[in-house]
């Protein structure tokens, strides 16, 4: 670098520069690829080499059998890490600014904390807390500090004081009729909730952004056809469609995620389209086009990131809908009863409500708080990411 003579815009030899071209990938893309490729290899190995009953990680001595949902979950986690979390560190100045805006909303900060707990619990929990196991003998154990009439429990783990079985720290939130530990159930339910949240959101966002931007940029009949299609998708009563699919094909977690993301992207697509159209009108987009940037570059560098910051809010508000839907179906006994979700737990305790309310209340409260937290978070993000508010404060 020449120190005496700093580079000046009017001394650039463009002929020389335009002859040299090279690929310049971003660290974010490299990161995602670096995690996705091994993941894909493991998945292929799992699928092609190992037989169905061998757990995937058996060769390395672990008993974890990675399923399709798990692969998707890991992939979306890497997307989250490299395209949402990493950029926050790459642009500290902007992060600080958003954080200042966000911090003003105190319930949202608390919500973020709670979601952090659910997130960490969902990822690490299954490795720390063993899955709840059936054990009829220790059914209806009360939560710690509470008690239950002796007649309901066959074996009381804690002390029996005055004919009432006392709760213990072995089952901090008590057990179900089948003796499954409620606390362990909630922790494992976090994983399910996180998987539902992350995977459906990623699928919805991908389809929504793709359809929305294509619609906005292609215009004409492509736009017309796509938006009519979105109309149809939006007219579907998702829950009923799911009932029908489940009635016909039976339901697992994967099916649930598939159906819900297949019917939930309509709103996102519409939103992205209108957002892209309004961003495309902005003068900075014209300025970029006039600089010679290709449509692809403009969309990738400017339209998509700007639309994304608004979509994040919208997606944040979609997640509680998925969690709620899963819980509703589980409650109706229509979900996959093998999945340790919060909804399953609630439905399991429903008939014992009058004497063992914790089986319903504990997971119900966790579900409620999680949905509440997502709503507060979405509300705060809306304010913090709102460009108009930025202009006013400037």
């Amino acid at each position: 670098m020449t120190t005496q003579e700093p580079d000046r815009f009017d001394r650039v030899d463009w002929d020389e520069i335009s002859r040299s071209r090279w690929f310049d990938p971003s660290i974010n893309g490299v990161g995602v690829l670096a995690t996705a490729i091994p993941l894909l290899l493991v998945a292929l190995y799992d699928w092609l080499v190992l037989d169905e009953r061998t757990p995937t990680l058996d060769p390395v001595g672990l008993g974890w059998d990675v399923g399709t949902v798990d692969y998707l979950f890991l992939f979306t986690l890497s997307l989250f890490a490299f395209y949402i979390v990493l950029p926050l560190f790459q642009h500290p100045r902007r992060t600080r600014y958003y954080w200042r805006e966000f911090r003003r909303n105190r319930p949202a900060v608390v919500s973020l904390g709670w979601l952090g707990v659910v997130f960490v619990g969902g990822i690490l929990g299954p490795f720390l807390v063993s899955a709840p196991e059936q054990s009829i003998l220790t059914g209806y154990q009360p939560p710690v500090f509470l008690s239950i009439d002796e007649s309901y429990v066959s074996t009381c783990v804690g002390d029996i004081v005055g004919g009432r079985c006392q709760g213990t720290w072995r089952h901090p939130l008590g057990t179900t009729a089948g003796g499954k530990d409620v606390f362990a159930g909630i922790v494992h339910g976090m994983t399910i909730s996180m998987q539902i949240g992350f995977i459906t959101t990623t699928i919805v966002a991908s389809i929504g952004i793709a359809v929305g931007t294509v619609s906005a940029y292609a215009g004409g009949w492509v736009d017309e056809v796509l938006m009519r299609f979105v109309d149809v998708v939006l007219s579907f009563p998702t829950l009923l469609m799911f009932l029908l699919v489940l009635y016909i094909y039976g339901a697992g977690l994967g099916m649930f995620i598939l159906v819900f993301s297949a019917f939930a992207w309509g709103g996102t697509a519409r939103y992205v389209r209108s957002k892209s159209l309004s961003i495309a009108e902005a003068e900075f987009i014209k300025a970029n086009r006039i600089s010679g940037a290709s449509t692809y570059r403009v969309v990738r560098r400017h339209v998509a990131p700007n639309a994304a910051s608004s979509i994040i809010t919208q997606l944040t508000l979609l997640i509680p809908g998925f969690l709620l839907a899963e819980a509703q179906l589980a409650f109706l006994g229509l979900g996959d009863s093998a999945i340790p979700s919060w909804g399953q737990l609630i439905s399991a305790g429903r008939s014992d409500l009058s004497f063992a309310p914790w089986i319903v209340l504990a997971p119900g409260m966790v579900l409620f708080l999680t949905i509440l937290a997502f709503n507060f978070l979405g509300d705060a993000l809306l304010d913090a990411l709102n460009p108009e508010a930025e202009a006013e404060n400037a």
Binding site: F9, W14, I17, S18, S20, K286, S291, G292, A394
Partner: protein, 445 residues
């Protein structure tokens, strides 16, 4: 070669199709830009002025092909493309409208734009340094440090500091953002900058600063400038030459001093007289334009300005007061559109004094259109009175027919040609018919 203009626009047109209904049938076109021609020489500033909606911004985006022009030719001789001559087929190798993608990208290094709204000029998620450096990256400068060095130097040149590189757009005031926009426009070292109302969102005091900065940079780097504004005083301050646009056409073009001192087109005259003079001793007034502003979907025939022109020509055989003539034509157009509600006129007249007679209403109508109570030409007077009578009798169609048969203007029949008044000063008005008209086709000059 020295006389070669940097930019030469010929008969540029941009028409927007108007579609309606379920099948998106095209039901018409909006002639936003309808055949404009002008040149900009090296280091020269051309001011393009006109009311909002006259097509000036569309012209700018068509020239740089942000939008594809419908027809016409834009020859760009900057970027070392100068000296080319026309192909035998008549097309020009430097015609922007025929550029391939690669040529277009190279052309973008030669022409840059500045926009009106400082608040939407920058990606809110990008540092201003990043935004200014973006064009460098687009054109393949992959060395980040080099980009940064260039941009920091440039930020200082436009009156900011190198430390501003890492700040975000919302941290700057409107005036500062326009400086940054100027830096972004300069970063590729273009030959021509198109500034689309760059100061109209700013305060006068800031306006003046930005204009001085533009002046200085232009002098230092020999830039050519196409400066678009609706503000005549800004245009006067910055331009070497002025082009006045009305409804998609350029009605007058000439050296700034010439046009301001001696406007030859009635529209320019009206525009100039509308600027409030900052002299407390002069009285309010100037030429008030009457009649309705036509839509570009259905521009008036002949001279497009004739529906509002205060100098609209009277045909042979009619010689009335000019303001009466304007009033009669306005009256005619309004009757023809069926937009005169006799009842409401009657009601309003009733408020003044009891039951209004037909005469009262007639007077009221005349007053509304600034027509004298009695026109000095008896033929005209009787025809007008006849039309008013028919209108009051409820025969709207009859009145319309009579008016349109009786009162016509040559301005509606003939499209005016360019007339040269002085060196480089031309305008298109039928009143100049007797003067020497230029040939309709423009050779390369």
């Amino acid at each position: 070669m020295t006389d070669e203009p940097v930019l030469s626009v010929r008969d540029l047109e941009k028409h927007y199709p108007i579609r309606k209904g379920i099948f998106n049938r095209q039901v018409g076109v909006a002639r936003a830009v309808d055949g404009i021609s002008f040149d900009i020489g090296p280091g020269e500033t051309l001011g393009l002025v006109g009311e909002s909606g006259c097509g000036k911004s569309t012209a700018a985006s068509s020239i740089v092909r942000l939008e594809e022009p419908t027809a016409g030719e834009v020859v760009f001789n900057g970027n070392g493309r100068g000296g080319a001559s026309r192909d035998p087929g008549g097309s020009h190798p430097n015609d922007v409208t025929r550029f391939s993608d690669a040529e277009l990208k190279e052309f973008r290094r030669g022409v840059q734009m500045i926009f009106q709204d400082p608040s939407s000029s920058f990606d809110p998620r990008m540092t201003v340094g990043g935004a200014v450096a973006e064009p460098l990256a687009v054109h393949g400068m992959s060395d980040r440090r080099r980009r940064r060095a260039i941009v920091e130097d440039l930020l200082e040149r436009v009156g900011l500091s190198a430390e501003d590189y890492d700040r975000y757009p919302h941290e700057f005031s409107g005036g500062q953002k326009q400086r940054i926009a100027l830096a972004r426009a300069l970063v590729l070292n273009p030959d021509l900058i198109i500034a689309d109302e760059p100061v109209s969102a700013l305060d006068v005091s800031i306006q003046a600063e930005i204009l001085s900065l533009v002046d200085d940079l232009q002098a230092e780097f020999g830039l050519s400038l196409l400066f678009i504004s609706h503000d005549m005083s800004v245009i006067r301050r910055i331009s070497d030459r002025v082009a006045v646009m009305y409804l998609g056409e350029i009605v007058e073009v000439g050296p700034t001093d010439g046009v301001f001192a001696d406007p030859r087109h009635p529209y320019t005259e009206a525009l100039l007289s509308s600027i409030p003079t900052p002299d407390p001793r002069s009285s309010l007034g100037g030429i008030e334009l009457t009649g309705t502003v036509p839509s570009p979907t259905d521009p008036p025939s002949g001279c497009r300005f004739h529906t509002r022109c205060h100098r609209v020509i009277q045909p042979d055989g009619i010689d009335v007061d000019q303001s009466d003539w304007r009033g009669i034509l306005n009256f005619r157009d309004r009757v023809a559109d069926g937009r005169i509600d006799v009842e409401s006129v009657r009601e309003n007249a009733a408020g003044a004094a009891g039951t209004p007679t037909d005469e009262d209403i007639g007077d009221r109508l005349r007053a509304e259109f600034d027509i004298a109570d009695e026109i000095n030409d008896p033929d005209v007077e009787s025809a007008l009175q006849e039309a008013i009578d028919r209108l009051l009798a409820g025969d709207e169609e009859g009145a319309a027919t009579l008016l349109s048969e009786r009162f016509t203007t040559p301005c509606a029949a003939t499209a005016p040609e360019r007339t040269v008044h002085a060196e480089g000063h031309e305008s298109s008005c039928l009143r100049h018919r007797s003067e020497h008209a230029v040939a309709a086709d423009h050779a390369d000059d």
